[in-house]
Symmetry: C2
Subunit: 190 residues, 2 copies
Amino acid sequence: MDVFTAIKERRSCRKFLSEPIGEDTIEKILEAAIWAPSPLNLQPWEFIVVTKAEVKEKIFSEAERCRKWGLEKSGWKWLESYKVDFLQSAPVIIAVVGDPKKTGLDMFLEDGGVGYQHACAAAIQNIHLAAHALGLASLWFTLFDKAAMREILGIDPAKMPLALVCLGKAGGESHQTRRKDIKEKTTYIR
Amino acid sequence: MDVFTAIKERRSCRKFLSEPIGEDTIEKILEAAIWAPSPLNLQPWEFIVVTKAEVKEKIFSEAERCRKWGLEKSGWKWLESYKVDFLQSAPVIIAVVGDPKKTGLDMFLEDGGVGYQHACAAAIQNIHLAAHALGLASLWFTLFDKAAMREILGIDPAKMPLALVCLGKAGGESHQTRRKDIKEKTTYIR
């Protein structure tokens, strides 16, 4: 699939078919992920591929807990009916974990280094594009507490669970979104 | 160009030809950038397209200052001879600026929201891939002080300059990098 097509067509999905994804497909997607650039090529990412129902259930419960927390904190009404059951139905969840020690020169900044997070986010975008090109839908999910997710997935306390990427065949229409025109977003200094 | 080809072929470049890039090409690249996903589709990115030599010179001076700061802080010898003159020679520098207010539910977290930064990083990855598909080389550069960059580019103090993306025709071999095997980076919970 053409790169521009993949970039423009890909949408977030919140409803997945339970049909499993082969590990060869997962590997193709992760092979795309790791070609993201990173500070000093430190490759600060790690991937935990979750297919076990029991663990997906724990992730779902944690997201539900955070949804309620979010509703209370924000007062945003849409959170009342926001369903996170895609965490149960998606056949695969890839947890993307970053290593704060692999961040390059920004580790010496006062506010700490986040370069490793940016690199992981670029890897996540590659995951989305690769998945779309392979006929899979995806969702970038971050509504969880880092400490809780470390416990659920057995992650080293020194590392940062940054996102859960749900993958699977779409079980309905993708979530349609629009974009503001680039003219509203761009300034030229000529 | 195929999306997997773009993802796997694209490399960082540190030497650019001065040959200008048409604004139609810049627009194609930014049109790819804005199709990145973002929390609640808030589209937290803004782009400043710099082609003016005088401003590139100021950016170069700031990077040089930070290089010296980095060398002093880190003691990393390679910084002694690290040239940042691509900031002068690249025909285009796109500053990617994020809006911390457009970050979604993580704004209520204790350690503050960085979701908007992740979205901007995904947009940057789209820029890299689109540029590569259009025959252009690119570099993701972050060695600058945020306050200094705000002053140089006239950025609202409430917004975050996250990266400078240099773009142009490659003026030599791209910087070759390897990747660790995905097996070293992946755990399965089946």
